[in-house]
Every structure is written in C-alpha cells, then in structure tokens.
Symmetry: C2
Subunit: 128 residues, 2 copies
DNA sequence: TACCTTCAACCACAGAGGTAGTAGAGAATG
DNA sequence: CATTCTCTACTACCTCTGTGGTTGAAGGTA
C-alpha cells in the first residue's frame, strides 16, 4: 500500500519515534508537553492505529512493555503531507509563497537557502 | 468566531463560489468535473454545513432555489490552511521547501517571484 | 505471599467529514 | 387542473479522530 495519511496527533507521535528512536508508549507520552498532554491511553490508542496503518511496528518487548519503532520515514510522511497540502492549491506554489511572505514566515535567508538547494538539485540531475 | 477550518470538499465548494460569485447549489454541483462528481445532495449537505460555519450565506431566492454567497474570503481561508499546514513543521518553512525542490514543484522562476514579493513587502512596511 | 503499580488489550463514545436517500413544497408545462 | 420536474429540508449511516475508561495480566516490593 502507499504512504498512509497521518493526522496531526499521529504525526506528533511519529515525531517522538523519529527523534528519540525506539520508544515505549510511556516514553512517547512523556514527550508531550505537560500542557495539553493527552491521556496515556489516548497515546496508546493512536500507537495501535499507527501500527494498523503500518507506520509503526513492535521492535521488542522489555518486561511487559512493548517498544515501538517507526517504519515510515519522516521524509516520506512529510512528502505525503506536502503533496496533500499543495493539491489544495492545484499544485501551484505561488499563492502559498505569497501568504508566507505576508505573514513574515518566509525571509530573505530562506530564499537564499532555497536557491542553494535548487542549484544542488539541478546539478545532481543534469551534471555538466 | 475565528476562521473556520474547511475540509477539502468544502474548499472545492468555496472555490466555485469564489470564482463564479453567487451560486445556487445546482451551479456549484455542475462545477465539479464529471468524473468523481459527488451527488447533488452531497453538495447540498456541505453547503448547509458551510452555512452553519458561517463561511457562506444566503444571498437571495430565485424561484424556489437559494443563491449562496461566500462570506469567507479566499485569502482568509488560504491563510488559515497555510498556518495549519506549517504548524506541522513547527512553523519552519525550510523542510517544506526542500520537499518542493525535490519533487520539482519549486522552480527558479518561483524563487525569483518570491524575491520580488518579499522586496515589495519589506518596502511597504519599512519605507525609506 | 499479598499488595501495589504498570502495561496491553479492549471498549465506548462523540464530533467531523463524506456520501446519499426521501419527503414534500413550489414551479413549470401540457 | 394534473403531471412532472426541481429544490429544500431532514435523516441516515459509515469512517476517521480524538479522547479516555476498564480489565486483567505481569512485574516489582514489603
């Protein structure tokens, strides 16, 4: 199957797995900031659903607790999100850029960085 | 209340209103490409929900059919979407840009355009 | 061993979104 | 006027998310 769609909460859980590596539900739960932290069982439910979606798998068992591992890469999940998002704009990036600039999220630095990346990218596919 | 969150289908419906102006449910329905067009009543349901969310209002009645008008602007809805989306990335634009470049969505043209917009933007807020 | 803690597993439930059917009012037409 | 078409209004139903309670097994501890 293709890359599963992940909701916001699911992404937060994956984030814990991606940054901390293999984790128990308890560890994932603790990663949430105290303020607005969901119940332990909520995290548990989401981890189970992620497992059902194939985004996560059981790595091993320590004592009576399961340790999970992300099987879906952060990059793949992000790409999925980006594609999904841009489909709202017919795949056109320009309107999005306009909003980013107006809200001050996109700076000159970012643009410079983008140019560098683009150059690397094109050079890689069209080596002279 | 603040800007309501709109789903994909809801956005498609708003798109019809935004581009065609005031519309009846029938007209909105007809805007969908034949392939994968939802049932008339489905569109109706969504329009009602959009009305409940305050994104749309009844402009007038012609015969026995209602004509709707968007009360939420395309810009506001888009900004909402963009903010929502970037919150997945902690508000950082760079990882998104990387994906865009890798998938070929972001071209040199786009970057040039972005620079122009950014210049205009900064000049407007900090006129020398 | 008897108790306390910690998990996994399972269950429940509400809200949003997507999908659509049906009933009944009104308009249009022969 | 009677029939047919077209809309609105209402209802139903399924899936996905988010949320969290309950139960019972496993492990640790006095």
């Amino acid at each position: 199957m293709s890359i599963p769609k992940l909701s916001k909460l699911e992404m937060q859980i994956m984030d814990a797995l991606w940054t901390k590596g293999e984790c128990s539900v308890r560890e994932i739960h603790d990663e949430f900031p105290e303020k607005g932290r969901p119940a332990y069982t909520t995290v548990q439910t989401m981890v189970n659903r992620l497992e059902a979606k194939g985004a996560v798998e059981r790595a091993k068992k320590i004592g009576n607790s399961l340790i999970f591992r992300a099987t879906l890469s952060r990059t793949a999940a992000h790409r999925r999100l980006v594609d999904e998002f841009f489909s709202f704009f017919d795949g056109r990036v320009q309107p999005v850029i306009a909003h980013l600039i107006q809200s001050g999220k996109l700076t000159g630095e970012d643009i410079k960085e983008a140019q560098k990346l683009l150059k690397e990218h094109t050079e890689k596919r069209e080596p002279r």
